[in-house]
């Protein structure tokens, strides 16, 4: 191999980008081989959620009274399905980030030490971690796309979706998906591999239930302290961003605030994740 030090920077970038795309190709090969488990993983949660809350419960006697946000949904127009569509997409995006980055990292840092091989690529260490975020983001977007037809066909009351700006939707979707990957990287590098099982109880369940997934943020106004507390949860901005882009009739945060906070959390979690990654692989 020739000595590339001192060569023009485009030679270096060619080396780096080939390594980067090599890693992407490897991940794509592994993902396509496990496409069935992947689809089951991303579809099962929204499928059952929509089925139980927007199909089964409305068919029960008095089921509408049991529906947690019946009044709220009625006020905003559309059924609970309209509230759930952006929320379940947010969960799908977030969970893909965990499943695509945090869980594999726990294995690669743990017993197998497979990461040592990936780190030996002719690529700056940080780029190996960035590749994981980007590949996870692609999976998140696919996962979000899977939710959409489910939410369209399952609920007994039709979902009121209305996209006024496709650009806004695209930007929210991309930022949210990258954010989920960065969250996965942060969790995967900060949590000890042995304790990765705990993150479901300690991290994922709380950020989902307190992430404005099953209710719009504006509807928390009657519990002011909670409405303020959930602002530190990045999932809130994913849910609210998708709500603003897809189902604006249920009410949502201001678009500028959503985009700003998505960028802030993306930068913060990427920074923490990259530091954690470097600490793990370089001694």
């Amino acid at each position: 191999m020739s000595n590339a030090v001192g060569k023009p920077s485009h030679v270096r970038w060619a080396i780096y980008s080939r390594a980067f795309f090599g890693l992407m190709q490897r991940d794509l090969r592994v993902l396509t081989r496990e496409i069935v488990p992947f689809v089951i993983r991303v579809a099962m949660n929204p499928l059952l959620f929509l089925f139980v809350f927007t199909y089964v419960m409305p068919h029960m006697t008095g089921g509408s009274k049991m529906s947690p946000v019946a009044g709220m949904a009625a006020a905003g127009g559309g059924g609970f399905g309209t509230v759930l569509l952006p929320g379940l997409m947010a969960v799908a995006i977030m969970f893909s980030g965990i499943a695509a980055v945090a869980l594999p990292l726990a294995q690669e840092f743990g017993v197998t030490r497979e990461i040592d091989d990936r780190v030996m690529c002719p690529l700056p260490i940080g780029a190996v971690a960035i590749e994981k975020i980007i590949f996870s983001a692609i999976q998140s977007i696919v996962a979000a796309a899977v939710v959409f037809p489910l939410a369209y066909f399952i609920p007994s009351t039709p979902v009121l979706a209305h996209v006024s700006s496709w650009w806004f939707l695209a930007v929210v979707l991309v930022l949210a998906s990258l954010l989920a990957g960065a969250l996965g990287l942060t969790i995967g590098t900060l949590v000890q591999p042995k304790q990765i099982g705990l993150i479901f109880g300690v991290v994922i369940v709380p950020i989902t239930f307190l992430g404005c997934v099953y209710y719009p943020w504006a509807a928390l106004k009657s519990i002011k302290w909670l409405q303020l507390c959930v602002l530190v949860n990045p999932i809130v901005y994913i849910s609210e961003g998708l709500r603003a882009a897809l189902t604006p009739s249920t009410g949502h945060m201001p678009a500028a605030m959503i985009l700003t906070m998505l960028v802030v959390f993306l930068a913060l979690l990427t920074w923490i994740g990259l530091r954690g990654f470097a600490n793990r692989v370089i001694s």
Partner: protein, 316 residues
Amino acid sequence: MSESIVEILGLRKVYNGKNSVTAVDGIDLHVPAGLIYGLLGPNGAGKTTTISIATTRAIPTAGSVKIAGVDVVAHPALARRSIGVVPQFNTLDRSCTVAENIYFHCRYFGLTKTEATARTAQLLDQFRLSDRAAAYPQALSGGLAQRLQIARAIAHRPRVLFLDEPSAGLDPQSRIAMWEAVQGLRGEGITVVLTTHYMEEADELCDRLAIIDHGKILIEDTPAALKASIGGDKIYDLRMRGVRDSGILKRNLQTIEGVTRVEVIDGGLRVLARAKDGLLAKVVTMANEFGLRDLTTTEPSLETVFIRLTGRDLRE
């Protein structure tokens, strides 16, 4: 001596923590291109840390490492193009098949699809892994997994291959197969740097050796020269009934022609001598009068060299 492919200068590594540990304490090393070079020392001597720094996976506290002229601390990503690594543990990609492990490694290093496919087929053949190409690494025995790791590590044609304890956990047969694979790399112009704490491995495989202990290089030479430094081709350990008058016996033994040195050891004396007919008989006759109980004959090994340098056994 030809050009140094690995140049280590004043290397130090201190791990800070509750008890800070100096793993590498001022190592200088020049590995000439084309050799199989061994770092021999007990566990914890600093061999793995040295290799970790040289392969960009650890940052030195002081000093520098250049691989093929590239500073590994300043340009880690580019230095990796000249480096192949087989770490102590199995780092094969469990989600990819045997062939894919090599194929994607080639892709990471910029080979085109056609080149990577051809190189994969060639390496599978060279390392006799073709019939396992579609298997997953979990299904491989320790010896096969190790061969695959070596095949993968050299897939991008690095200038230097680092092997960290390559025979740890291998059965004797796999070890010999691994040695053959490593010796086969000579013909490809790949310099090999390996760490080991097996004397036989160092002796059998390496062209030159550095003996390391407590983060320092104690001596560096060819295995033959290191063994010759002991000062004899035969070592007779005499076990005596008592050690009284051993001073007289020692002086007497030194007068025998061919004896190069006599040392006091635990429970007796050690005689270093050149191989010579009749010498053993003279030693036995002389020692018998002083209460010789037992005698063992050995030839100098790297183990003897290590004990002489450190006063300890390599396996301790």
